[in-house]
């Protein structure tokens, strides 16, 4: 569940970055602010279970990659090879950190259990 919170935070970030760019009425600005609050709520929820450094880096990376992809698919921005490489690097990093931190979490649990005995 904690990883889903990171994902939600990054998805909501894409919307509020678009909001920051295109809002020009009070309602749109209000919506943008609500989305900023939502994404930080999800970050805090994720930090309850995962290391904050991981959460913040994944949130930043997934958001940056997501915005570039949304720009290319919906706003007609050109996607260069360099951009694709950086998006790929982020994806490798996110998958890697998820796989390795799952191992570490289970080790941490074993540790706590032994400590409790």
């Amino acid at each position: 569940m904690a990883w889903s919170y990171v994902l939600f935070a990054a998805i909501v970030e894409i919307f509020w970055v678009i909001g920051l760019r295109y809002s020009n009425s009070i309602v749109e600005w209000l919506g943008t602010i609500i989305m900023i609050i939502c994404s930080f709520y999800f970050i805090i929820k994720a930090c309850e279970k995962l290391p904050s450094g991981t959460v913040y880096a994944v949130f930043t990376g997934a958001g940056a990659a997501g915005i570039v992809i949304v720009d290319a698919s919906f706003f007609g921005a050109a996607l260069s090879i360099k951009q694709l490489l950086f998006v790929g690097l982020i994806i490798v990093g996110v998958i890697g950190i998820k796989l390795t931190s799952d191992n570490e979490t289970s080790e941490k649990h074993v540790h706590t259990y032994k400590g409790a005995e």
């Binding site: 805090i44 450094g53 990376g61 940056a64 990659a65 360099k82 690097l89 982020i90 890697g96």
Partner: protein
Amino acid sequence: MAWIYLIIASFGEIFGVIGINYYLQRKTFQRLLFVILPFGVGFVFLSMAMQEIPLGTAYAIWTGLGAAGAVLMGMIFFKESTSWKRIFFLLCIITGAVGLKILH
């Protein structure tokens, strides 16, 4: 001066992430302010820095310094893992994010 604003903005992110840990230890409204204020002040300084430094450059440096700083603080103050695998994959993510924002 713009570069100093940019560094202050990055520290906003770093202290914001420390604030999250602090808030999670005890969820009070006062502690929530330690999350809101640093991020809020950080954004203000980022926009001030962007008046002189090109948008892409400012955004990239802010992202990189902030995320790397947040990771380091987690390791120093909150006992987060310092395994080389974790550092390697975090570096991939941060490099990717900085790269995208420079290109933007």
